[in-house]
Symmetry: D2
Subunit: 328 residues, 4 copies
Amino acid sequence: MLYIVESYQSGKALKEEIESRGIPAWYVELWGNYIVATPPGTKIDGLRTPVKAVVELKTDYQLVSRQWKRDPTPVVIGDREIREGKIFIIAGPCSVETEEQILTTARAVKEAGADALRGGAFKPRTSPYTFQGLGERGLILLAKAREATGLPITTELMDPEDLPLVAKYADAIQVGARNMQNFTLLKKLGRAGKPILLKRGFGNTIDEWLLAAEYVALHGNGNIVLVERGIRTYDKTLRFTLDVGAIAYAKQHTHLPVIGDPSHPAGDRRYVIPLALAILAAGADGLIVEVHPDPDKAWSDAKQQLTFQQFEELVAKAKALAKALGKD
Amino acid sequence: MLYIVESYQSGKALKEEIESRGIPAWYVELWGNYIVATPPGTKIDGLRTPVKAVVELKTDYQLVSRQWKRDPTPVVIGDREIREGKIFIIAGPCSVETEEQILTTARAVKEAGADALRGGAFKPRTSPYTFQGLGERGLILLAKAREATGLPITTELMDPEDLPLVAKYADAIQVGARNMQNFTLLKKLGRAGKPILLKRGFGNTIDEWLLAAEYVALHGNGNIVLVERGIRTYDKTLRFTLDVGAIAYAKQHTHLPVIGDPSHPAGDRRYVIPLALAILAAGADGLIVEVHPDPDKAWSDAKQQLTFQQFEELVAKAKALAKALGKD
Amino acid sequence: MLYIVESYQSGKALKEEIESRGIPAWYVELWGNYIVATPPGTKIDGLRTPVKAVVELKTDYQLVSRQWKRDPTPVVIGDREIREGKIFIIAGPCSVETEEQILTTARAVKEAGADALRGGAFKPRTSPYTFQGLGERGLILLAKAREATGLPITTELMDPEDLPLVAKYADAIQVGARNMQNFTLLKKLGRAGKPILLKRGFGNTIDEWLLAAEYVALHGNGNIVLVERGIRTYDKTLRFTLDVGAIAYAKQHTHLPVIGDPSHPAGDRRYVIPLALAILAAGADGLIVEVHPDPDKAWSDAKQQLTFQQFEELVAKAKALAKALGKD
Amino acid sequence: MLYIVESYQSGKALKEEIESRGIPAWYVELWGNYIVATPPGTKIDGLRTPVKAVVELKTDYQLVSRQWKRDPTPVVIGDREIREGKIFIIAGPCSVETEEQILTTARAVKEAGADALRGGAFKPRTSPYTFQGLGERGLILLAKAREATGLPITTELMDPEDLPLVAKYADAIQVGARNMQNFTLLKKLGRAGKPILLKRGFGNTIDEWLLAAEYVALHGNGNIVLVERGIRTYDKTLRFTLDVGAIAYAKQHTHLPVIGDPSHPAGDRRYVIPLALAILAAGADGLIVEVHPDPDKAWSDAKQQLTFQQFEELVAKAKALAKALGKD
């Protein structure tokens, strides 16, 4: 249940009143609301603290549901905004490799029309023997690229202990697919003070994805962007199966922005553009896409990163499609 | 291996020559070519029969590959054509129910811009206790709807014995997902004399789908349209997971037209339009979509069929999107 | 609903009475019962025809449910019986290749303790270019092997038109995974006069498997053995993922015998024995396993067929395990 | 590549020598060996430091491979040992709830023949609104249960920051399915000083599971037990699909002990015993199973926990089966 109250004071009072009855309660300020949340299904009669509105939902996720907050939530990244009705494009290399690489890419993707720069400094790698990212040096290079181009930057956080470090540099913090149910991390991101790009785990259901967002929101951070990036299925022709249905569903059932990553499901740059367009046509508010100055020489994900020229083609097509769908 | 020859006579001669060496060979006339096909990897030196071109492919499918036939194959259905560069929309109810139902639907979808009418007369049903279709009476009603509207009709064939009956009425014959690897049926469709809409099985890989098409082609019928309709994955939020990657892949690796069915993966009409647009954005040449005059009262698939009004909205959006992508 | 009646006459009368009320009804004689079946949920009051018992189930499958028929159904194959409480082992090559191959195998597997011989004469193959089986000649060779060893024989039927031919030779007819939802075939098998080994489709749920059995039973044939053979999942380390949970579930929810095929999920003979033992430990009533005199030279499934020696090892371990579980 | 050397000194020297050539190297002491590891495929000629043996593997995992270390690795938990050739049973409730609950359970499972007690103090929960475990208080209660029964205890670690706390109480530390690719956590467990029970992620391949073990080993901890607990597939009849093939594969390709969890894939206590027996028959070295004094009242996983009586039945059957398979 969600109890919308008038003020911080009412919220604190209500939380205490509910807890005194043995029911867990959380107080959060989100999207302009003072909210006390209790577990779904815990209806409480005869509360003394005054309440503006009570929201009862049949879903396990509550705060992020569109059933009570019908207007879409915009999320500000740097000086820009991801919001319903336009498309937001984040582009950049899989990993930050060198200063030249990241600066060249930042300039190229900005020129082509990107809204933000991505680049991995801490890389989750299946094998302990492969390149694990430049760490803080990668963050410093990203910050240089931001300085040079004005593009806000997004990068992945893996270790909760690195949160202060990553938050110092990044304009938005990515949660990788493998960490979508790292609840320790999600709770700490509730107090990150930065927007979160929450990738769906490749073995996770849509409900689990929305509940992961609920973890972040319930711990205080409402600036969440959902990122669909493909799931594991029996078919291995492409690297993952992009789930456009998840985009359509998430857009209808949550008020958060939803974007898609065409690079990981494609696994091969030949399929990135069609997947990117499918993401947008399914209703997504933007893209996060891998672009590299010389993809074949990339230190990771070499096969799937776009060249600058392909990225320009993608942006042109994406903008034409967005316009046809009535978006900015 | 594919051996392209000059004439029927050369083809027959070459087939005999190859078989005399103990290698199986098939002779087919497809897409304006005289072709002798042998299993992949069976290179034969010193053939006496003159050959125009030898095609060696690394894939298991050969005839349907775009590697040797780079121009896309158009497929004629009734008096219309599915082809690359435009979009073709097939619409109609899951099952033919009554004369009024099918005539009303035919008129409505034609008015809205559909290119063909679909309707099931023989229904593959998971339970033996549920409605199995009107059988021949359904075919007769479809033919009436064609007469009334001029729309060509497509319908599913389940029992190979019913092929003459279905071919008598239908302008194109659908192979359902559950029959995609019914090799007996596929071979017989090689001699159907009608175009085939080949749905991908919900548990089948892309390669198996293309090899199912190869079965039909190798047995003489090159008029095949591939239909992606969603696969089974661990996520059950929607009914199936639409695999837009399969569309992108099939468009690049085969010369056959590829269309998508948004109704079955959606399983709920709220998600049909976004999935339909994603199908087209991924590169498909058209759609096959379920539409019903009063979906909630439909005898099968009630939840997922579109109303006439929703179908009009879909066509309008599809056409805008197609235009933005440079299609007719 | 199932209505158990006293006699053929009552059954026919009841069927007519129910149909006269506009409800579909089927009359079958199965497992010593005279049964009229109607779709689940169709409760009918005030029937005039006398009824011994009315069975109302919450599942979509009815006849094959263990809820009303609590005693396990034995199935007779040749002069032997598959039944709960013992283990029944069917062994033989993937495909019948030559007279020597099938005779040698039949003798070896009999010697080792097999209860029946398997061998494919009609082979469902993903590619149209690969070996499709010897056809009737394969059936004749199987019959010779039966004559030589006394082992009953089982083989796959693909084309409904071949039913009389296959039924003439085989002691039990296999339905392959790809045909599990070939409803045309299932209905015809209802009148096959031979026991059916019904393989689960690799993309099908347990419920769909039980409903496929219901198709066969409702059309008159109650001699059905369920065969779990692995499903498609995202993990491709082995060929398929053997679903032992499906065995445990099917044993509790249906009265039909359940056996398992360890060869197809293993895909490699190194894993066949552990999978076979897991099948039995999960509660299966037997095994169907591929054995070949010289597996590396087999015309199909070369990697996964056992040698004679491995099969002997399997039988010894299976018997020890069965004994430990309190089986014969 | 793995370089086996004579001593700590040689190892350090070799690591430096290799790194001086620009190749990453790790030094570890594991299972009685001094090992320098470099990424697979990095063959280095002309090394000056003397080397006892060079191991070149084609797999991405190296240390945990059975190709070079053919003898199985035993893992000591408390005063007991998980090792090939016997079965080790860990049992206990999903979550530690109360002192009485955990003490009663510990006594009952010990009496029935369990080798260790499990119990969750930190619970990874899909929803932020559900019970997240007692935290340190749960650890203290587990320690009391150990004191009372002598059973070693195992419990899950979620937050890397809690490692010192958990290591203080637990005899073995569990990594949950959702954390199998939490590489930050895996690296820290390399220095945990306690054995690790590494659950396979429900969306992870077998190779990823072995590489997760490689992470732990490469960071210094060779006391790893692999735990198969079911994967996500399209079939939802049971909670997860137990992958017995993964057990068979892991036993052949790694020298680490492998156990199975039948409770989570079953999701319902009716299926736990058959799945447990299938796990053992597939070759596993033991079980980890949920048992509760009053399962229906459990605070989590109520449906799948065994009663004490069912656990006794399980142990009796498991021991009979183990004996039949030639195990202690």
